[in-house]
Subunit: 357 residues, 2 copies
């Protein structure tokens, strides 16, 4: 049976970068079935909802999902439930994609792109594991109401619920330990247990899971300190595991340390290893359609998909090696361009990767 890949290009630069990733996948010569559906604003335009049934169905039945990016200012005035971002939240929740893996790697050729000093970031290779289906992102109850109690009783108030159940913490902690074990053996769990009850349980459960992994060195860090340490000395980290909200903030911060977020892929996995793969950067509507977007994060996301969900590690290696080779050749899209290198557009970058394979 051929493997089915759901391709969801989305908005902004999504379609352009996805196109190159699909070309790369096709060039591998494997017999995948690739099916495409709109998502985000594009799906709202086409079908009145950011995650229409046809899109969700395809994602459900596929072996893996390759996702571009969603969001555009033109949808800002829609009610929240219809905005493009709801598509990605819905996919995560509906598909049970609880484990988000976000590598922050600085390619030696791109060391100058970072806003940090070379000695602080050269050789950076950290992996942030963010829980993706729980926390304050989905916790009920939530809403806007008349405050029922407190000093401001009677006033209009917004409220949300942060929640983590023990099995949820346990399964993401396990992913953290398993992953750290395959890397440099260090896991840092980030929480705010000096203030939050949710974090206290988080810390207790992670500490408990650690007993099964005596070979992994576990540390705990408060989220505010983690945000500082990522700026001060990011290379102290190997794997970081944290909740949905803190992970949203820290994974973006960590990506930006490299200065080349246009290079960074991500994977969001369910219990069985099925996953959704997307670049770490956003939809960049300001440069959409200009043919200048960097397709490498999406191409590297396709490589992660080959490795984690499609069981084709050799093909993943091929793609990753090809990306390294185009960097070594000096080819750069505008976002990572510097003097002495060759500036190319989105399609030319895709061409170069295919050629390098």
């Amino acid at each position: 049976m051929t493997q089915l890949i759901a391709v969801l290009p989305g908005d902004g630069i999504g379609p352009e970068i996805i196109e190159q990733a699909v070309r790369v996948l096709t060039a591998l010569g494997e017999s995948f079935t690739i099916e495409q559906q709109p998502v985000g604003g594009a799906a709202y335009d086409a079908a009145g909802h950011p995650l229409p049934p046809a899109t969700l169905d395809l994602a459900r039945k596929a072996d893996a999902v390759l996702f571009g990016s969603v969001g555009d200012w033109k949808y800002d005035k829609l009610e929240r439930a219809l905005r493009p971002e709801q598509a990605i939240l819905g996919l995560r929740k509906q598909l049970g994609l609880f484990a988000n893996l976000r590598p922050a790697i600085l390619y030696p050729e791109l060391a100058n792109a970072s806003s940090l000093k070379p000695e602080v970031v050269s050789g950076l290779d950290i992996l942030i594991i963010r829980e993706l289906t729980g926390d304050i992102y989905f916790g009920q109850p939530r809403g806007i109401r008349t405050a029922p109690d407190g000093v401001f009783a009677g006033a209009r108030e917004g409220f949300d619920t942060m929640r983590y159940a023990e099995p949820e913490i346990r399964r993401i902690a396990k992913i953290g330990f398993e992953t750290a074990r395959k890397r440099r053996g260090k896991l840092c769990s980030v929480d705010k247990s000096n203030v939050l009850e949710t974090s206290q349980l988080w810390k207790d459960v992670v500490t408990d899971v650690a007993k099964e992994y005596p070979d992994v060195e576990l540390s705990h860090m408060y989220v505010d300190n983690a945000a500082m340490q990522l700026v001060r000395a990011p290379k102290q980290f190997d794997v970081i595991v944290t909740g949905n909200m803190f992970g949203d903030i820290l994974s973006d911060q960590a990506s930006m340390l490299t200065g080349s977020i246009g290079m960074l892929p991500s994977a969001s996995l369910d219990e069985s290893g099925k996953g959704l793969y997307e670049p770490s950067h956003g939809s960049a509507p300001d440069i959409a359609g200009k043919g200048i977007a960097n397709p490498l994060a999406t191409i590297l996301s396709a490589a992660m998909m080959l490795r984690y969900s499609l069981d084709k590690p050799a093909q993943a290696d091929r793609v990753e090696a090809a990306v390294k080779s185009v960097l070594a050749q000096g080819l750069r899209t505008a976002d990572i361009y510097e003097e002495g290198t060759t500036k190319v557009g989105t399609t030319a970058m895709g061409d170069a990767v295919i050629k390098a394979m």
Copy 2:
């Protein structure tokens, strides 16, 4: 009537750095009354509680509070309600200190201390205004319970409530606009309104308050993007206003951009301008008692106190000028030392500031 200053040295390096700040205040020749009480772990040791009644009473009746720092690993095993950090949370809540002002300023003499490239941070001068008495820090209900519903119903779960009422948002937004008006006229409100109901209300209310400040340029940014932009191009910001949780993370991140958090003061103000002043850094128990801690953040916190709560702007200027002068003289504590400067200890740094006044 002489003004009463409550001095709460706390734990770790707290006592050493507070001592220098008190010497500086005394050297001004004003007739303050200075009273001291233990807080944090020191208070737990002395009186069985991190914020004993005598300490809270003094803080209440004082015109301003000068606070060192709290926390030490040796209290880690205490139950949460007795841990040193509860003292600072209790003081904020009991005294209604809802507006936390955290400048992140890079002194030209210390540009090398930053882990960021000089061109990215030179001249950095941003102010983070963090709401300090609401949000998930204090929201009820919270606790550890058996999950009442959801996929993990029946499992043990931790939960917390994020809450902001309209008047709470309105008053901190006003502080944001008033402060931006006195600076470069730019206010960035940070939220996560694409996901959180609390943030949606936050954004709506800030947008409404903006009508009273047509001269201030307001922008909105998601917290994940703010964490990225602070790394990428921090100088784009003037004043940032945000909630308690996001402010905790972003203000620490912003401080660390300078590489010299040992220089950064903070103020936490109530409705009437009364405030608690403390260094932005922590209690650093690893270097406590060695006489090497940097007292300048605490001395500059005393200067903020003179300006905001004690109505002595000229004296505040004197202290700040003296700090600049000791930096210009090349004096440095270990945390900001670099080759070609003169390394001094805590007391010698205090001496130098007093001499420079």
